[in-house]
């Protein structure tokens, strides 16, 4: 008998249908992954099982946990099940813990709230559980506060809270999406290990197909609130039936064709740049310390070249980006574009700045919601001495919008009328409109769904052919960097540890850090190889 059996679950919030006839099962000790793009209903399915759907939600069907139909349970009965029979782990470890309580108290609370022991016993179980998830007491005593831990360590605390009472079912909602690739690998390994050891059912919700295919025993693919396909991982990967499943997997491994390099002239030159930040004083009257975020970094970008920059959070990518854009000065070294410094006399050099534009990660936060598209994308005009006016301006707006795959009529709309992918096109239009010589893409496709991401990557390749784009592409996503760049820099602790032609670095990494990064990144099995009889073995 299966542990969790969701049968014909349909759910709506007020009048808005969210889930349709969702049916799947999770057995003891089995890892089932629900995957799909945003809005597919995968998270809502998880919250339905937890009984934590938003107000106004109404569900039909059955959610059987062993012999209990969760949909018929009262709120009090659900409270007794949550944390006890079902545990849950969330996406954002940085905010999932209460900042004012110690980690020991927070883990022990799971035990205390279910009356599973006295306070002393609960603290002992908390200590044991934290040790079990890789936070041994000698280094991570119970009295630590969340802000004293890194993202990966906090996620371990969240996992400890969820498994303290050894629940039969663990639900993990995008548990590693916010983490660095090496941390992600460790957390995934931990989850798989716990599921095997405790014979616990693990329901993973994730958009990352590479994670899914490495980790799950079974895959459930959702689209628009419906399950379009499900089956054993190995079988499903080899015999995809539904067009949406095929599209998803094709989009995740999407490759673009970049035009070949035409020029050899250097455009941007970064020469022995170091950037220090002040750290708090050690004593009240002592001198402030410094933290070197970027340490003696040198590289250059040739005209028409696509350069990638990869590294984990805190490696100095963002600091370097800000220095290149002239947003901050550097402590030593120089950054020049066509020989002119980007930052001079205490401020960004306008003549240079107009030749550089940037596209940021968040397509929702990077626009003023009260401005029309025409105004948003013409913002860089203030950098120009003679910005186009009247008809010339209208024509340029129309041309630029069309170049990024939107229409001239979109100029009068507001950002909320567009989807995330369309907004990222607007952001690219904003960068493109003054024809800069260099565009910096700062995690520009990281927040997008795979199918949308594939389209944006195609757009980039198109623009490269059309406008001879030169860009610096910063990302933590190795597979994307691999396809859209000619050369790549690998950054660790403020230094460039490896650089070279992209294909060469990826296929034959020299530096141990690059090797670690590539090994940790989950990969999709090579689906073109029909001869292979089994997919990659699941972790542990």
């Amino acid at each position: 008998m299966s542990l969790l059996s969701v049968q014909k679950l349909s759910m709506g919030i007020h009048d808005h249908p969210v889930l349709h006839d969702v049916t799947f099962e999770v057995a003891k000790g089995e890892i089932v992954a629900i995957t799909g793009e945003s809005g597919s209903g995968k998270s809502m399915t998880a919250f339905s099982v937890m009984g934590l759907t938003p107000g106004g939600a109404h569900a039909t069907g059955r959610i059987m946990l062993k012999d209990t139909d969760l949909l018929t349970q009262t709120e009090a009965q659900m409270c007794a099940l949550r944390g006890n029979a079902i545990g849950m782990v969330f996406q954002e470890p940085m905010t999932a813990l209460n900042p004012v309580k110690t980690i020991g108290d927070q883990v022990a609370e799971t035990i205390l709230i279910h009356g599973a022991g006295t306070r002393a016993e609960a603290m002992q179980i908390a200590a044991d559980t934290l040790t079990r998830v890789g936070l041994p007491q000698d280094r991570f005593p119970l009295g630590r506060f969340p802000h004293e831990l890194s993202g990966g360590q906090r996620q371990r605390v969240v996992i400890a809270m969820a498994i303290a009472l050894r629940p039969a079912l663990l639900i993990a909602d995008e548990p590693t999406t916010a983490l660095d690739v090496t941390t992600q690998a460790q957390i995934l390994q931990l989850l798989a290990k716990l599921a095997r050891e405790d014979d616990m059912g693990l329901l993973m919700i994730t958009h990352d197909l590479a994670v899914v295919s490495e980790m799950a025993d079974r895959i459930v693919v959702m689209q628009h609130g419906r399950i379009v396909e499900q089956g054993d991982t190995a079988h499903l990967l080899r015999n995809m039936q539904h067009p949406y499943t095929k599209l998803l997997f094709a989009a995740s491994t999407h490759q673009v064709d970049l035009p070949s390099l035409t020029s050899d002239a250097p455009l941007l030159r970064v020469d022995s740049v170091s950037r220090d930040y002040r750290t708090p004083r050690k004593s009240v009257f002592g001198a402030p310390g410094t933290f070197r975020a970027v340490n003696n970094v040198s590289f250059d970008i040739k005209k028409g070249e696509r350069l990638g920059l990869v590294g984990e959070s805190g490696c100095g990518k963002s600091t370097l980006t800000r220095a290149i854009l002239g947003l901050e000065d550097v402590q030593s070294g120089s950054i020049t574009l066509n020989g002119a410094p980007v930052f001079s006399a205490g401020r960004a050099n306008l003549a240079v700045r107009r030749n550089m534009q940037v596209v940021f990660q968040d397509p929702y936060g990077s626009f003023n919601p009260r401005h029309r598209v025409s105004r948003l994308i013409t913002e860089p005009f203030f950098l120009l001495d003679n910005p186009p006016k009247g008809q010339a301006r209208t024509d340029l707006i129309a041309e630029t919008l069309e170049a990024v795959g939107l229409s001239a009529a979109d100029a009068d709309k507001y950002p909320h009328q567009f989807s995330g992918g369309q907004r990222q096109r607007i952001a690219i239009a904003r960068a493109l409109i003054i024809r800069p010589e260099l565009i910096v893409f700062d995690e520009a496709v990281s927040a997008l769904d795979v199918s949308v991401r594939a389209q944006i990557l195609d757009l980039l390749a198109d623009l490269c052919r059309q406008y001879d784009l030169t860009y610096l592409f910063i990302s933590h996503d190795l597979s994307v960097v691999r396809t859209v760049t000619d050369r790549v820099l690998v950054m660790q602790s403020g230094q460039i540890v490896e650089h070279g032609p992209t294909e060469q670095v990826f296929s034959d990494p020299q530096h141990p850090y690059t090797q670690t990064l590539l090994a940790a990144a989950p990969t999709l099995p090579d689906l073109t190889d029909k001869a292979s009889t089994h997919a990659q073995p699941p972790l542990v």
């Binding site: 937890m50 934590l52 709120e75 009090a76 409270c79 007794a80 099940l81 949550r82 944390g83 006890n84 545990g87 849950m88 969330f90 954002e92 905010t95 999932a96 813990l97 209460n98 900042p99 004012v100 309580k101 609370e109 799971t110 709230i113 279910h114 506060f145 802000h147 004293e148 969240v158 809270m161 969820a162 708090p280 004083r281 009240v284």
Partner: protein, 315 residues
């Protein structure tokens, strides 16, 4: 934690020094010579000069500032120009009314605001929330002097439970003293409670939307348990800020209420001294109020650190 306290203390001392300088020189450049004012405009110049010497007004400004500060430190606030009594004594008499009144009002305000704010937040969008928010809207809108007069009309004139004004003095006993401060305290507290209740509600609602509240629910806590165990303490920072501001306001800003109830408080003392151009009293009272405000802020800073461990480890 020790370093946090030390840094707060350092900023406290600097604030006090800057504030005293500003107060002294602002009052110095205010037009009107106290000696001339006390003797009348038709008095003889040599009489005025003699009085100026007696009042210590004939020495350079910087020396008067130092004398004033030195006096404040030793409890000698100088002598009032108009009443010819020690300022320290005048202030301490008034302080014995104003300080208990402020504490009384703040206690009432907190006692009203916490339950209503928490109640409203826990029933967001429901009838209870709407009712509480409507009531606080009214509480913010009603001027406290009008409300004070209504209280007098109902409880003093019609029901005769309280006297309409005046203060019986603490020598009549704690109960009698508090009783005579009750109507003023309520009139001061209600508008403050309305504001505090709204702050409490919105701070709690912000916290209720946090990810860790969802984590708490996933552990099996009921909505109510999650609110009490995880929500409240996280919502305290904005609430403490407002409480600190309100205390300072209640101490100094009760002038109108003191007039309505004819209370011999600090507010009235300042008002009278300004009219009489009794600059030494004004200076001292203002300095005292600034001192209190800065001390209250210091206390609030310490309370932040108690509530939020992240502040303790920060420098």
């Amino acid at each position: 934690m020790l370093r946090y306290i030390f840094k707060r203390l350092l900023s406290l001392v600097i604030s006090l020094a800057v504030a005293s300088l500003v107060i002294f020189f602002v009052i110095e450049i205010a037009p009107g010579d106290p000696a001339t004012f006390m003797l009348g405009i038709n008095s003889q110049p040599d009489t005025i000069a003699a009085l100026r010497t007696e009042l210590g007004l004939d020495v350079p400004q910087w020396q008067r500032y130092l004398n004033w500060i030195g006096g404040l430190m030793t409890g000698d606030f100088g002598t009032s120009y108009t009443y010819r009594t020690p300022v320290a004594q005048m202030i301490s008499e008034r302080l014995w009314v104003s300080l208990p009144l402020a504490i009384y009002a703040l206690t009432l305000s907190t006692l009203i605001a916490f339950p209503t704010g928490i109640y409203a937040a826990s029933r967001r969008g429901k009838a209870g929330d709407t009712a509480v928010m409507g009531a606080t809207q009214l509480g913010v809108a009603i001027p406290n002097f009008w409300f004070a007069m209504m209280l007098v009309l109902l409880f003093a004139i019609n029901l005769r439970w309280f006297s309409a004004g005046g203060f019986v003095g603490w020598d009549k006993g704690l109960g009698a003293g508090l009783w005579s401060l009750t109507l003023p305290a309520i009139s001061l507290a209600l508008p403050q409670a309305a504001i505090l209740s709204r702050v409490m509600r919105s701070a709690l609602l912000d916290v209720l939307g946090e990810d860790f509240m969802r984590t708490a629910r996933a552990k099996g806590l009921t909505r109510k348990q999650a609110l009490w165990r995880h929500g409240l303490r996280n919502a305290m920072i904005p609430v403490l800020t407002i409480i600190g501001l309100q205390f300072s306001f209640l101490l100094a800003g009760a002038i109108i209420i003191e007039q309505v109830f004819y209370l011999p408080g600090l507010g009235r003392l300042v008002f009278q001294s300004i009219n009489a151009r009794d600059l030494i009293v004004v200076e001292s009272v203002v300095m005292l109020l600034v001192f209190t405000v800065i001390m209250v802020n210091f206390a609030v800073d310490l309370a932040y650190a108690l509530v939020d461990p992240r502040l303790r480890s920060r420098t």
